[in-house]
């Protein structure tokens, strides 16, 4: 440990060079964009090299940040002139940024390496590495931004990259539709974020997070924001916090904007891994953690209708439970994992809401490893089974795919929260402890505990269906292990999924202290709350036991056999399998409303506004016929200011020779002449 410490002290990354971490993948993306299709080795090589370099820089940044954890190192600069001073943006380095950067670059790097194997047969893989690099660069930009505006810019670019990647196989209509759905759904949340940002900017005059006491996350601004109240008696900081949280709801797939996340499975599997682990969905949790002082600013106020964090806690609890329930009834291997992501992100939001953003970030970090592992494992299965994703048609892969099975099992145990050895256990414990300690309500804790059982249950079901029993389709029968470019990243992630747990045991107080910017370690070890831990271990055992009893003991024999749960409770199962009907609900309400508005806008144009003009034209025609003689003279009379105008129209008129224009021109000419005369006379008197 001492040598490691000495080594880390040698590595430093000054904050004004922090942008390099995001710029390297961006540069790789630029090179990838200009590389012709056959240059896939170059594009992949550049992308991987850039990520590797970014990873090293992130390690250096982590060392720098840990050397002075309480300091928010910033480098601010002018973007463009606006009024009396420039609009400023900046970079920010603190332990939160640094830990996240290390995670994103490391997980990203492993996913990139995996993609070399997974995408080798795709004709467009050059483009693929270009988009993946954009994705990583945008996410890293979110992490290093010291300005909500800069964060928003990168945030939207994350959305763009996800759009391009979810729709990577754009010739498939389902992929094209899923990409659009993801973009639109997250944009709904982003409009909330935009409004929150505008409000914050207007109230404080800056969007910099830290700026030597003038930033929005510093005491001065926060004090001013909590002192004012707005509609419904909310503190302004609460209102802004909730609007900002809307962005996180969209990006992190929280209820009620979670609908895009399962559809995002239409992208290539490495994309799913990146979206679900390191980049897209992590951005929402990170955002709330980043603006945590703002979200928590209203905690000191007693007489407010609601605290921002309470809403976060309940949204998280609902999402955690709902995601886990729906995951139980999914039959697509990637959809099970997708809903488990929804559920796990709910846990993170729950942790943020109950006041422990450190626990949320800890779970975000561990989850990134084991969820990337699970998705890449699923990718390995899908690759081997010729793109068969239906777990009912898989089966028996334990034998032919030993590495994939072993690593997937580690991921499964980490996600289920199998005690002690696996990182997911510790980070989930941290969240449950925080929920237990919260004095707001015990509902989030109960939701979290219920989701523990369900998580262990559906993961057991998944492993039993995919890896045990007999192959239930031709494709599954011929499956064999994937190449080393794919298995080595799996092993790397599996190691991470285990090792990160040790941050949780003796080191969790250390991590907690560093993230909170304290140099002294005086947190509580997770082992202290023994009763709760025992309870959750029992619940995990219950979930795995139930899964074992239902799916493992009597393994599925044919692809068409009914799921045991479906046989027991067909209605509940069908409702869960149909994802509780959110898509249909939105199509019937929001979708219909927007179509109706569009139809109304179009009809108003065609009939009302244009109709009024046509009516005026008829009127003009009529007047024109009546007064043709008079105006003939007037036209030729010549008026100083008006003559050129009329000459122009006269030319048109001479060409036109239609009754319609006739009328228009008459009325204008007459009106003009009369009114000028009136004005002139009026002025002369």
């Amino acid at each position: 440990m001492l040598e490691l410490g000495a080594f880390l002290r040698l590595m430093t990354l000054p904050v004004h060079l922090l942008w390099l971490i995001a710029a390297l993948p961006l540069l790789a993306a630029g090179i990838g964009a200009l590389t012709p299709r056959r240059g896939r080795a170059l594009a992949a090589g550049v992308a991987i090299a850039a990520m590797a370099l970014s990873f090293l820089l992130s390690c250096a940044a982590l060392a720098t940040a840990l050397a002075q954890p309480a300091a928010h190192l910033v480098h601010n600069f002018a973007w463009f002139d606006l009024g009396l001073g420039p609009l400023r943006l900046g970079w920010l380095l603190d332990p939160l940024t640094a830990f996240m950067c290390v995670m994103v670059t490391l997980v990203g790097l492993l996913i990139f390496v995996f993609s070399v194997g997974y995408m080798h047969a795709d004709a467009n893989s050059t483009r693929f590495f270009c988009f993946m690099s954009v994705f990583a660069a945008a996410m890293l930009g979110v992490l290093i931004a010291n300005s909500l505006l800069l964060l928003f810019v990168c945030w939207e670019l994350v959305g763009l990259a996800s759009y391009l990647l979810i729709g990577f196989w754009f010739h498939k209509p389902a992929a094209a539709a899923a990409a659009k759905k993801a973009f639109i759904t997250t944009r709904i949340g982003d409009l909330g974020l935009l409004l929150g940002m505008l409000w914050l900017y207007d109230s404080t005059g800056t969007l910099l997070f830290f700026d030597a006491g003038n930033g929005v996350l510093e005491a001065g601004a926060l004090g001013a924001l909590t002192a004012q109240t707005t509609i419904g008696g909310l503190a302004v900081s609460t209102a802004i916090g909730l609007l900002v949280f809307c962005g996180a709801i969209g990006k992190s797939g929280q209820f009620p904007l979670h609908v895009w996340l399962p559809d995002a499975m239409e992208g290539p599997t490495p994309v799913s891994a990146l979206i679900h682990a390191a980049t897209m969905v992590a951005a929402g949790v990170f955002l709330v953690a980043r603006v945590y002082p703002l979200m928590a600013a209203d905690q000191a106020l007693a007489h407010v209708p609601i605290h921002a964090l309470t809403v976060v806690a309940f949204i998280g609890a609902i999402t955690a439970l709902m995601g886990a329930m729906i995951a139980v009834a999914q039959n697509d291997i990637k959809r099970v994992l997708a809903f488990s992501t929804v559920s796990q992100l709910g846990y993170m939001m729950l942790a943020l809401g109950v006041g422990s953003w450190v626990a949320a970030i800890f779970h975000l970090l561990t989850h990134a490893f084991f969820k990337a592992l699970l998705f890449l494992g699923a990718g390995s299965v899908i690759h081997a089974a010729h793109h068969e994703q239906d777990i009912r048609r898989l089966g028996g892969l334990r034998g032919p795919m030993r590495t994939t099975f072993a690593t997937f099992a580690i991921g499964m145990m980490a996600l289920s929260g199998v005690p002690f050895l696996f990182s997911g256990f510790w980070s989930k414990e941290a969240i449950l402890h925080a929920a237990h300690a919260w004095n707001g309500s015990s509902l989030p804790l109960f939701a979290g505990l219920a989701a523990v059982v369900l998580t262990a249950f559906y993961m057991t079901r998944l492993v039993a269906e995919v890896f045990f029993g007999a192959p239930r389709s031709e494709a599954a029968g011929h499956a064999h292990e994937s190449p080393p470019t794919m298995t080595i990243p799996l092993i790397g992630l599996a190691v991470g999924a285990v090792l990160l747990g040790f941050l949780g045991t003796p080191a969790y107080p250390w991590l907690q202290a560093r993230l909170l910017g304290e140099t002294e370690v005086h947190g509580h070890s997770l082992l202290e709350g023994g009763g709760l831990m025992m309870l959750s271990i029992v619940l995990v055992a219950l979930g795995i036991g139930a899964g074992w009893a239902i799916y493992w003991r009597r393994l599925r024999a044919t692809a068409t056999a009914l799921d045991p749960l479906e046989r027991a409770t067909p209605r509940t199962f069908a409702a869960l399998a149909a994802r509780l009907g959110f898509d249909e609900l939105y199509a019937a309400t929001v979708g219909r409303l927007s179509n109706a508005t569009a139809a109304l806008a179009d009809a108003l144009d065609r009939h009302v506004w244009d109709g009024a003009i046509r009516f005026l034209a008829r009127l003009g025609e009529f007047t024109g016929v009546v007064s043709r003689e008079t105006d003939e003279d007037m036209l030729n009379g010549g008026f100083d200011a008006g003559s050129e105008s009329l000459r122009g129209t006269g030319k048109l008129y001479s060409r036109a020779q239609t009754g319609e224009t006739h009328g228009y021109l008459r009325v204008i000419a007459i009106g003009f002449v009369l009114l000028v005369l009136i004005v002139m006379m009026g002025g002369g008197q």
């Binding site: 463009f80 002139d81 606006l82 009024g83 009396l84 810019v153 939207e156 670019l157 763009l160 754009f170 010739h171 498939k172 209509p173 992929a175 539709a177 659009k180 973009f183 639109i184 944009r187 409009l191 935009l194 409004l195 505008l198 409000w199 900017y201 207007d202 927007s594 179509n595 508005t597 569009a598 139809a599 806008a601 179009d602 108003l604 144009d605 009302v608 506004w609 244009d610 003009i613 034209a617 100083d640 200011a641 008006g642 050129e644 105008s645 122009g648 030319k651 048109l652 036109a656 224009t661 228009y664 021109l665 204008i668 009106g671 003009f672 000028v676 004005v679 002139m680 009026g682 002025g683």
Partner: protein, 512 residues
């Protein structure tokens, strides 16, 4: 300061080109097209010369040319340029050559086409540089003549009707503006914008018009407002726009949306606001609703369009309404306690940036629809294509960039102006900013639908056998696309030209 009359050169070089083309009776099409292009490029070249000598810190007009013209009417030939005019001159300098390049393959009498285009360009430049109402209005009206013929003679099946509606509607509006100015002249004895602005700022205009009769100030204001509102257009005076943009040939649509629609917004900023600050302030709460109508209903109406050109046309209504929304919010808040200069500065900066950025992205989008149309034998329906991205990846990439620019994606140019407009409007009238967000959402919806139906999915319909962009087409789009990127990352290029001017405007916000 150079002794050359640079601004006159900017205005009249395109007209000289038009005259030259008129005399080149026997020239081959290639010569004709080259001459047109070279003369249209003169604006950009001269604009850059002006830019080199431009002092951004000075807020009064520069490169001024002033000569007595019609002394009995106190009319002067008066040209001058400030940051706002400069931005518009540069925009015209970029959009016009691009539009001519996009029209390179126009077969039917390229000589007349080029001459009319240069004539149109010169008239637009005159509008942006004239400082006396007399010739400002001449340029304003003269621009309609070439535009009319460019739509009617080279347009689609419904072009005649659309061209008439466009011209008559605009002239109808202008007639009221002319009347207003006639009254203004009678009341004040001058048509000079600078003098009128001073009279407007200290309230003299209002008093003198009121001396003519109680309803004169309102009538004159409404007349000028109507003329400008039709031109922009302000909702609900916009119904001429979709058919005109849709029926016009590609190059003309690009110029109409890129430059001519900006003439109206320019008029609002240069004339209506400085001359009638009190009347505008009084009308602004109502006008805010109209601008919001354009923002929201314009975007939603775009969702219903099957014709892609009509869709982009409605999107233009939506974008131009953002500009007006910002101005109306500033005017409505003038003199109100709590309205900050920072918000007004942001709103006005955003308006000017958005004028420029929308000019680029809308012109690029029309150009892309033109490419679709030319490949599909005139079809340009939302459902006529499929999978174009597979067949033409370069085209898909460039069109995608234009689309995301129009959608306001951060990192591209469109975002900066939109963000500043929203920031300003939120600071002045928060609810209006919140309502306008619906426009952002609807814009994303219809552009994404456009993209999904035309570019994604299996290749089919008119996309079968679709050829990717030719070198000429790439050259047409490339400068605009490059600017979309550059201005997204480095908005200072434009902001630096206008910031002192806008700061001064916001600093002097007051009612007479």
């Amino acid at each position: 300061m150079t002794s050359l009359p640079l601004l006159s050169l900017i205005v009249f070089t395109p007209w000289a080109g038009a005259a030259l083309l008129a005399s080149l009776r026997r020239a081959s099409p290639i010569i004709v097209r080259t001459v047109s292009l070279v003369f249209s490029l003169s604006t950009l070249a001269l604009g850059l010369v002006v830019l080199a000598g431009f002092d951004a810190a000075r807020t009064s007009p520069q490169f001024v040319e002033q000569q007595a013209w019609i002394s009995t009417l106190n009319v002067h030939y008066h040209l001058g340029l400030d940051g706002l005019s400069l931005v518009l001159v540069l925009l015209t300098g970029i959009v016009t050559p691009t539009a001519l390049l996009a029209s390179w393959r126009v077969r039917r009498s390229p000589r007349l086409f080029g001459a009319l285009f240069l004539f149109l360009q010169g008239a637009a430049l005159g509008v942006f540089l004239a400082l006396d109402f007399f010739h400002w209005f001449l340029f304003w009206e003269l621009s309609l003549v070439p535009a009319f013929f460019l739509i009617k003679l080279w347009g689609g099946a419904g072009a005649s009707r659309a061209a008439y509606q466009f011209v008559i509607y605009t002239i109808g509006g202008s007639a009221f503006m002319l009347l207003g100015f006639a009254a203004l002249y009678v009341a004040t004895g001058t048509l000079d914008f600078i003098q009128l602005a001073q009279l407007g700022a200290d309230g003299t205009i209002g008093q003198k018009l009121a001396a003519l009769g109680g309803w004169w100030p309102t009538a004159v204001f409404l007349g000028v407002l109507l003329g400008l509102a039709v031109k922009v257009p302000l909702f609900p005076f916009h119904t001429w726009l979709p058919p005109a943009y849709a029926e016009a040939p590609t190059g003309t649509s690009m110029f109409l949306t890129g430059v001519m629609s900006k003439m109206g917004v320019y008029g609002f900023l240069r004339i209506l606001w400085p001359l009638f600050p009190a009347s505008l302030h009084a009308a602004a709460p109502a006008l805010l609703w109209l601008a919001l109508g354009g923002v929201v209903l314009g975007a939603f109406a775009a969702m219903r369009q099957i014709d892609l050109k009509r869709m982009i046309a409605y999107s233009s209504i939506n974008h131009l309404s953002y500009c007006l929304l910002a101005l109306f919010a500033v005017s409505a808040a003038t003199g109100r306690a709590g309205a900050t200069n920072e918000a007004a500065t942001a709103a006005l900066s955003g308006t000017i940036l958005h004028i420029f950025n929308h000019g680029l992205s809308a012109a690029a989008l029309f150009c892309c629809v033109g490419v679709l149309e030319s490949r599909a034998g005139g079809r340009r329906g939302l459902n006529d294509f499929g999978g174009v991205r597979t067949a033409a990846p370069i085209f898909a990439g460039l069109c995608g960039i234009s689309m995301f620019s129009s959608l306001g994606l951060p990192g591209l140019n469109g975002f900066v102006g939109e963000f500043l407009i929203f920031r300003g409007v939120f600071g002045l009238t928060p609810w209006a900013a919140a309502v306008a967000c619906l426009g952002l959402l609807a814009t994303a919806l219809f552009l994404m639908t456009f993209w999904q139906r035309v570019f994604h999915g299996p290749t089919g319909g008119a996309a079968t056998g679709f050829k990717d962009l030719s070198a000429l087409e790439i050259a047409t789009l490339a400068p605009t696309i490059a600017l979309i990127f550059v201005l997204g990352v480095w908005p200072q290029l434009i902001a630096g030209l206008i910031n002192p001017l806008v700061t001064a405007w916001a600093g002097h916000l007051a009612l007479p």
